[in-house]
């Protein structure tokens, strides 16, 4: 018998009689999620800017990062400061990226996470390999918690999707928090 068949038959013999799947909580609509979202982001080491348009956002990026270094974005509006090619098939060529600019249409107030999928990524590795990251969030796309987030995601089809909450971090050395473990050392969140 193959291991697959042996394991499945052992599991079938061992599992108890069927217990019902409990219902998930019904979500309530909350107010002022922008405030909670930005407060949470500050708590997890991100920086927050409230902006009114892309021009303002590009000005802030220009004053925060060296525009002479490699910057990648998907939205063509960033063409003056970034590469805006749609797709990179060779991830190893992205090792020198200084800043990746991402856009999301789902953010979560309770934990500061933003949801990014393949469609919003020129390459899967970009949000991890870049030295710094910036994310654009629209106020109306902020939900209260993870239950609501998965309601929005629903049965969305993606090959890869990720919640990103702040810059990469570690506290493995004596519980001292250090920003910039393997991924971005900083994360700018622009709330439009």
């Amino acid at each position: 018998m193959s291991s697959r068949a042996a394991i499945l038959s052992a599991v079938k013999a061992a599992q108890p009689s069927l217990k019902p799947l409990p219902a998930l909580p019904v979500s309530n609509v909350s107010n002022d999620l922008t405030g909670l979202f930005s407060e949470t982001l500050l708590g997890i080491g991100a920086q927050v800017h409230f902006v009114t348009d892309y021009d303002e956002l590009i000005r802030i990026i220009g004053s925060s990062y060296d525009l002479g270094k490699r910057i990648i974005a998907l939205n063509k509006v960033f063409a003056p400061i970034a590469e805006v090619e749609a797709v990179y098939t060779a991830p190893l060529t992205l090792a020198d990226v200084e800043l990746v600019i991402l856009e999301t249409n789902l953010a979560v107030a309770e934990n500061g996470a933003v949801w990014i999928t393949d469609d919003q990524l020129p390459a899967r590795v970009l949000p991890f390999i870049a030295q710094h990251s910036a994310v654009i969030v629209r106020k109306e796309d902020i939900v209260a918690n993870m239950h609501q987030a998965y309601e929005v995601i629903g049965d969305q089809v993606y090959g890869f999707g990720t919640f990103i909450a702040g810059p990469s971090k570690t506290a493995d050395i004596e519980q001292s928090l250090v920003l910039g473990a393997h991924g971005p050392c900083s994360m700018l969140v622009f709330i439009l």
Binding site: V11, A13, A14, L21, G43, F160, T162, A165, T170, H182
Partner: protein, 461 residues
């Protein structure tokens, strides 16, 4: 992992306790993490109902695991993933080896996976001439020190920064004496970036696997799982088969609980959902049993399979905090490890369910409401019945049962004990008496309650 001679939890804890200042530091560090967990949990008004919900979802999973596994496999294959089944650790390791060999590589990166620790994958691959670099910072540190992780979330929590500075000086060439966490982390970032960019195969663990969609979720703060997986040509995800959850929307429940329970963060920095390989990439999933179906068949112990590996029970445990992870001599230490390990090998891990005060704090913090302390107590009974109790305990228990069964002998024994404690305390206040270790012997009364009662009852008549 070095294969040293067998030492029980108590023996290893005795060695750990020789350095009292270090024990206090270890204890306080973990208690601080526990307090962060409390603050995070208290910010969620519905925390308790969330735990109940998670436990209920896992009840459903365990009662329907067969169908969920079949569905997960079917979906994963449709997504272009290659699915493998491993009955035990040896088969798991052989599958990894065959994939690696097929690609003709002899080095790879691995992000945190307690399953591969359980299977001793690194040691196996290294014997086959294949180098594995652990990329989680804490795991890389213990790997350089040639030690196993001492904690499932904080692998090098037992190490002082000065020791890490020395290790990095020796292996990564950092300046001698520099023990600044910021500096050492930056050095590790450079060191490991080179590995990510040059290794063609990456292994990751799996936090949750969704039966409905065939996707799986990997949670890290550092981003090391994603760096490995998205840069490599081949991604191998290794998972214990109990990681299955029914539907994608259930992730909301578990992702709310996991990191708050683990470190007190609202969520890990990255919660990555892998559904299809990227174009040109190979994606493998290895589903591992290794004793899990046996545990599923034990009604008293099956709830241990609900575990989501947050380590809240470690951080709160008075015994773990004061004995250190290595005292448990198994991949998963702490209270949860002590109820998982005897299922893998009753004889080898017979000591672990006794490494507890049964205070119940582990069960109270568990995000999926596993009755950990009840299971510790139940394992003790199973282990004694199966003949795995230590000889000293067996003899002592038999002596006690014999004494208690004979009232006259009990009276004599009581008198002898009172005389010895008051006239010749040195006979029991010594190293030969294990009860005396870290305890004072009690003050002795002049007479037993029986004698006192007999005397006073007559007087009051």
């Amino acid at each position: 992992m070095t294969n040293t001679a067998y030492q029980s939890h108590a023996e290893r804890a005795t060695i750990f306790n020789e350095d009292e200042a270090r024990v206090n530091w270890h204890d306080e560090t973990l208690w601080w993490v526990r307090q962060k967990r409390d603050r995070a949990a208290h910010l969620i008004p519905e925390w308790e109902s969330l735990r109940e919900l998670a436990s209920g979802i896992k009840d459903n999973v365990l009662s329907n695991l067969h169908d969920y596994l079949v569905s997960f496999e079917e979906q994963a294959i449709q997504n272009g993933v290659q699915v493998h089944w491993a009955a035990d650790a040896a088969e798991h390791n052989a599958i990894v080896l065959s994939i690696v060999k097929r690609h003709g590589v002899n080095r790879m990166v691995k992000s945190k996976s307690m399953l591969t620790e359980e299977c001793h994958l690194n040691a196996f691959l290294s014997e086959q001439g294949i180098e594995v670099i652990d990329t989680d910072l804490g795991e890389r540190i213990v790997q350089l020190a040639e030690e196993p992780p001492s904690h499932i979330v904080l692998p090098c929590i037992h190490k002082k920064k000065e020791e890490i500075g020395d290790l990095f000086h020796e292996h990564l060439g950092t300046p001698a004496g520099n023990a600044d966490p910021q500096f050492l982390t930056a050095a590790a970032r450079l060191h490991l970036r080179e590995k990510f960019l040059t290794r063609r195969v990456a292994i990751t663990g799996v936090n949750f696997a969704v039966a409905e969609t065939g996707e799986f979720v990997v949670c890290t703060n550092e981003g090391n799982a994603d760096m490995g997986a998205h840069l490599a040509d081949v991604h191998i995800a290794c998972m214990g088969m109990e990681k299955i959850i029914p539907q994608r929307r259930h992730l909301g429940v578990f992702l709310r609980l996991l990191t708050r329970s683990a470190t007190g963060q609202p969520i890990t920095t990255y919660s990555s959902h892998f559904r299809k390989p990227r174009p040109g990439q190979e994606l493998h999933i290895i589903l591992v049993d290794n004793g899990r179906s046996r545990q599923l068949g034990r009604p008293d112990f099956r709830n241990s399979l609900k575990c989501i590996r947050c380590a809240a029970c470690f951080n709160t445990c008075p015994v773990y905090r004061r004995s250190g992870g290595h005292s448990y001599h198994t991949a998963i230490a702490g209270p949860i490890g002590s109820i998982l390990a005897p299922n893998l090998d009753m004889k080898e891990y017979a000591d672990l369910p006794f490494a507890s005060t049964l205070c119940g704090s582990c069960s109270n913090v568990c995000p999926v409401k596993i009755d950990i302390h009840d299971q510790l107590y139940k394992w003790r009974q199973v282990l004694v019945q199966e003949g795995h109790a230590p000889l000293v305990k067996k003899v002592a228990m038999a002596g006690m049962a014999f004494t208690l069964s004979l009232p006259s002998l009990y009276k004599i024994a009581g008198k002898a004990a009172r005389w010895t404690l008051s006239h010749a305390p040195f006979a029991v206040n010594n190293k030969l008496n294990p009860w005396y270790k870290n305890r004072e012997m009690p003050q002795v009364p002049a007479s037993s309650f029986g004698e006192w009662y007999a005397k006073n009852r007559t007087k009051n008549k």
